[in-house]
Structures are given as C-alpha cells and as structure tokens.
Symmetry: C3
Subunit: 280 residues, 3 copies
C-alpha cells in the first residue's frame, strides 16, 4: 500500500466558490492520509469533452493507485448513473455522461461499474451537489482500498462518445478542428502526427494550414524558433498539431477559437503545391 | 492525534500573487506534518460577509481537529484583534471583524480568545500582512496542538453581525436578497426552506419570484429538469433557495447580481394567486 | 530527513489547463512522500521578471530542504540550459533565463549547475513541455535527496539580470518604477526604505510622489488609516514602497499600471518643498 493515496480532481467548479474545498473536506474526513492534486477546475461549465481532454492529457502521469475524480455533471439529480471505471493502475470516478470517453479510448482493460451502494453516500443526499454527496465519498473509499465490486454491478452500456477525428478532404488533405485554446493562446487541433506523417518529417513538403484569418506555412520544432509575429505549426506535448506563436498568442493573431475548422493542405502526389481548397 | 493536521484557508488574496504560497511556507515551517485545503481565495476583496458565507458552506465537512484560517482583513495594522474561536471540533483563526459571524450563529458552544501572545508571531511584524506574520503562525501552532488558552484571554465582545434574513412583506410574502452568484450563474438567495415551507411541498401552491428582469414561477428539484432557457427556483446544496437555469447562467438570463432584492409572492390564505406586489 | 519533502511551484502555466496537474503527477510518481505548495501559476506569460519577483517574496519563508521549482520558459526546446541552484537551505530548479536573478542577488553562497544527466528526464522528451519532462523529474529527485552534483557540472556563466533600481533624479529625488500591481490594486514600486530613508521617519518631511494621474503626498502605516478615496504611500510587506488606497484599488484611482514611472520628490536640503520635477 502506498503511504499517501492520491486523488486527482478535474471539474468545472471553478475556484471562486466553496465547492472544491468542501469536497476535499468530505474526502479527508473519510481518508485522512490522502493527498490531492488538482488537474483543473476551469473546465468550461457543462463541457464534458473539455473535461475529457484535460483528464486525458494528465492521468497517465500519476502513480499506480491514484483515484481520478472527474465532475462535470449537468445531469446532477437525474437518473444518470455515478460510475467507477477501473484499470490495472487507476480508478476513475465520474458521472456516466461520456466524460471518461478518452479514457475508454486509451485503456484496453477496463471495468465499469454503476455505483449503487448508497451507504457510502453522504446523508442527507442533495439533488444539486453529488460531487460532495456521492462522488467524493466514493473516491475517498476507493483511495482507502475499498473494492469497487462492493459499490455496484458491472455495466457495459456506459455512455461514450468518439473523439472528433480529422476528416479526409481529398488528396491527402485533412479537415480538423481546434479542440482547445490553451493559456498561452496555442490552438490545440485534433490532428496528430499519425494523421499527417509527411508534415513531421525532417524535410516536410510544402503545406498550408488554414485557420481563422491566417494561412500557416511554416512548421517549427520549438516555440522559440518562430520569428516575431510569425504563426507556425508545431507538435505539442500531447502529440497534437498546434498553431502557435513565439511569445505571443496565436489565438489572437489568427482570430481563432475553440471549435473552428482547421484545413491542412499537403502537397499532392503529383507534387503540386497546395494552392487552394478543393472546390474553392 | 491525527497523523496529518489540516488547515483550511479562506481569503480574498487571490492566486495571482505570492500571498497564499508565502503563508503556507510559514505554516509548514512550524508544522511540517500539516496538509492544506483551500476553500477559496477568491472572496471579493474586503468583503467580510462573502468570506463568512464560503466558510459557512464548507467548514462542517472537515474532520475534527481541522484549523480553519480565514483572512479578509481590511483593518490589518490597526487595533482590530486577531482571534481564535474554538468549538469541540475546530479552531477558527481570523481577524475580529465579523468574518466568523455565521460560525457563531451555527455553533452552540464556542470560546473566543483575543490573541496577544506575540512570541508566536513572525518577527519583524509587518503592518500590512498579518496573514503571514500573525494568523499563519497561530494557525500552525494550533495545528500542532498548542492550547489556545496560551495565546490570549477569552473575550465576549467579539464583532458579529446578523446574516441578512428574509423579511415578511405581508400575506406570507417574503423579501429576500441575492447573497451570491456562483460559478454557474446560479443566484443564491437568503431564503431557506424553513422560511417558505409551502414552496417546497411535493405539490406547491402557485408562487411568483421577482428578481432582476424576470418573474419565476417554476420550481425544479434538479437543474437538468429545467427546459431550455427556462429560469426556475431550486433548493441548493446548502438549503438556500436558488434561481437557476439548466446548462445556463440564470444571472445573465435575469440580469441579476449579488445584493439584489428577491421578492417571493405566495398564494395567499384565501387562495388568491400572487398577481402583484403589495403596493404595485 | 524531513518526513514530507516540499516542492513549491511558480509558473506562468495558469490553472485552466492540465499543465500543473500533470507536473505534480510526474513528481509524485518519483517521490510519493512529497507535498506541493503553489506560490503562483499566474505569472504573466513569458515574463521572467514577474516570476522572479513572486519567488523572491516567498521562498525564504519555507523550511530548509524545500525545492523551489520555477518555470517561465519561453526558450523551451532550444539550447537554453536547465539549471539547479543550491544554497545551504534550498534547491531552485529553473531554466537558465534569469528567472532566479533575485535569488542570486539575495543569496551569498550559491552553487549553480547545468543539468545534463538525461537519465533523470522523462522519455520521450518533448520539445514543448520541459516543465513535465525535465524540470519536474529533476525537482522530484532533488526532493528525494539526490545530490545535484550527479545532475550536471557547476557553471558560473548563468544568466542573470539586475533588478531595476530607482535612479537618482537630483536633489535626493528618485525615479522608480511600478514593479507589479497586486490583487488589491496596490502599486508595488522598486523603491525601498533604504532608498528613501527620510520618507519613513516618524515625522517625514514633505514629499510628493507622481504616478499615473495623481500626486501622492500622504504616507500611512496601515491601509485602514487612509481616508475614503485617498491615495497614499505605504511600506509593504516586502519592504517596497507601495501606492495604495483603503478598501480600494489605487491602480484604478491613479490609472497606473505595471512598468509606469514613479517619481519621488523629497524636500531638498535647503528645506524647499517639492513643487515640481527638475526641468518641468
């Protein structure tokens, strides 16, 4: 048994209210030996995919035995189920609304249970704050080593959605999307090196990325390699293609936001340079 | 003795400066075994009641032995006293400016001491950051088990204010106030189920709540039960009547902010529907 | 050996992304017994001096053995070196870009090493997130007691800049600068009591401070001593002259921001009152 159990927290609760502190109080009352790590509480309110993305980028860096608590729960108080998903290394505690979809995508062996053992819940049970009354105590008992099998039966019909994948736009071109704008204004797209292997060769062919008001034709391997004011492509720390700038916010320079289309035009098989979009 | 002592922090210091980190450094230098839980540092600057409210919603969820440190201290450097208020389960460390008023209201047995034992303070003592120089070391020594009686004499003239209570507006109608707007845009009022028991029956009589630019006539038991764009009443997780919307910010929909009046009109004894405010 | 090792974190990563949580996951995987204290993650993006300032105000309050991790790293992925600077009490882990300059200024005995022992790094090593792949593991191994001598050779040509010092403007007058605006709107200048000892006597001579749109002629020893709407000078908790207001934001009242000039005019030797700037 590890000396300190770790519970990570990912939520849309923000830090301006008492919500997160209250949940930690509940958990530390059940397991005084645990340590918390906040992944983020700034998930866009009610945005299940945004939470899924933050969790996916962080969870695998934690030690075996970590409990990942994820609460973006627009359906609180309704029939949506609380679940615990367990892998060989981790437990994930969340509402069954798809917020664990990227975990399901990445983890091969996974057992998902619908939590029904109400004696673990806080009483009286509210209809509006299951983070406090259901999810926190469940996470804390898991961190103490309680077997998830004691919390509810296994289910296979849990909610999951497919992460948005870039789509072929003909001639090896790709139509992707901005998944997220990070703190620095980098635009995180859903295009990976695997989707566009040519782009990440040592000597890539000419390409053009259309996003927001700009066409990007340069690729850099470090942010600091960009010239002043230049907007360029780069492979970010999670393997996604990013649109970035050196000491500047690409999001402002290209006037792009989350959800916007990203069109990647690669030199075609005939060696023609990517001049325009098909159908332009 | 618990293995890890817990100190919670509630302040208006924000997270953009070094203030909170510095205080934790002071505390962990005195008691290396303690663990911190932030309740919030986003209390409105100088807003003693806002801090009182966040603390009141969170403190009772912590284990026995927790020290609750609360610093909203516009009077720092003046004669206002540092105090420690002790109940059977907790110590509360704060400036004597009323920030513990809701604790005084909720706790029956309470001993309040004026902290005068300067040998616990950091030296040199600043006039501008008693959070670091007085309150943090006091909290840390309490977490190590130092008896508060060694810190100063008991006082009974501590500053307290009454939480704003809804007022009768005739015919069982109530005039309340928006105490707070939370992260999701829910308007937390000062009206409780006890103030308006009829409203929270299984089959409530017709009612009308005027707040901001809207009249609210529906009550829901879960956020997700609201229709798209609907603004409704709900009992929140701390027992207060909230004005809310499903996956939306009621504060924007009704254009209401903290401090605004909330008028609750109930069907009167004669069964007449609440058409208008008295005097309209 | 202390029971819990402490790592503090200072960065420009913000809290809305997964960055900080991921780094903590890396560290706690290496050293399960450590505790984290965030100093701030709200350093202005890429602003090395802003980080240096926050760190300088906090680090000395931590217990011996603390590892201070500081990441503002616009040069990530380039040849800028990762370094560890060690004093008798602390290790500082940072990119070699001057972010430790104020530590170098304050600490007399200091050994700085260029980190080259790649077997401590996370693999695969990204070009865009050395906070996760290099700095976090190094900090964690230091917290476990690994000797920094095993991480790389000593260097003396580390990057350092001089903190901006107030300049003489003749007649004992000083031209300083606003280093920072804190959460409360206080303007932190680079003028210390040592720079203007006359100002901080019990009975200071007449003076005038020009900043933004205001001339400040009052000095107070506590924020609460200011009259309503008054803007005054005060010595802040780190020894810097601040321009402040009682329960108000001086930054708004004087319309001043970070980087603005602050002109301090003292009564001259001949006892003439400070009417105007030289050359006005």
């Amino acid at each position: 048994m590890p000396r300190n159990s770790i519970i990570t927290l990912t939520s849309d609760f923000g830090l301006q209210d008492h919500f997160v502190g209250t949940m930690k109080g509940v958990m530390v009352s059940i397991n005084p030996d645990l340590a918390f790590v906040d992944i983020t509480h700034s998930v866009q309110p009610f945005d299940v995919f945004d939470a899924a993305l933050s969790l996916a980028q962080a969870y695998s860096y934690f030690p075996s035995g970590t409990v990942h608590l994820v609460i973006v729960d627009p359906g609180v108080g309704t029939a949506r189920r609380p679940i615990v998903a367990s892998t060989e290394k981790y437990h994930f505690v969340a509402p069954d609304n798809g917020v664990l979809s990227l975990v399901y995508e990445r983890e091969e062996r996974l057992s998902v249970r619908s939590i029904s053992a109400e004696h673990y819940f806080l009483q009286p049970l509210s209809n509006t704050f299951h983070g406090r009354d259901i999810f926190s105590p469940i996470a804390a008992y898991l961190s103490k080593g309680v077997d998830p099998a004691r919390m509810g039966g296994e289910v296979t019909d849990f909610v999951r959605f497919a992460a948005p994948r870039p789509k072929s736009a003909g001639n090896g071109n790709l139509r992707g999307v901005v998944l997220k704008v990070d703190r620095f204004g980098n635009l995180i797209t859903n295009i990976t090196a695997r989707d566009a292997p040519g782009l990440f060769r040592t000597d890539p062919p000419p390409f053009k990325i259309s996003v927001g008001r700009r066409e990007v034709t340069a690729i850099r391997s470090a942010y600091a390699e960009g010239a002043a004011g230049e907007v360029f492509a780069i492979i970010g720390s999670m393997g996604f293609l990013e649109i970035a700038a050196n000491r500047g916010a690409a999001s402002k320079l290209v006037e792009a936001t989350k959800g916007m289309d990203v069109m990647l035009l690669l030199e075609d098989a005939a060696g023609r340079r990517p001049e325009s979009l098909p159908g332009d």
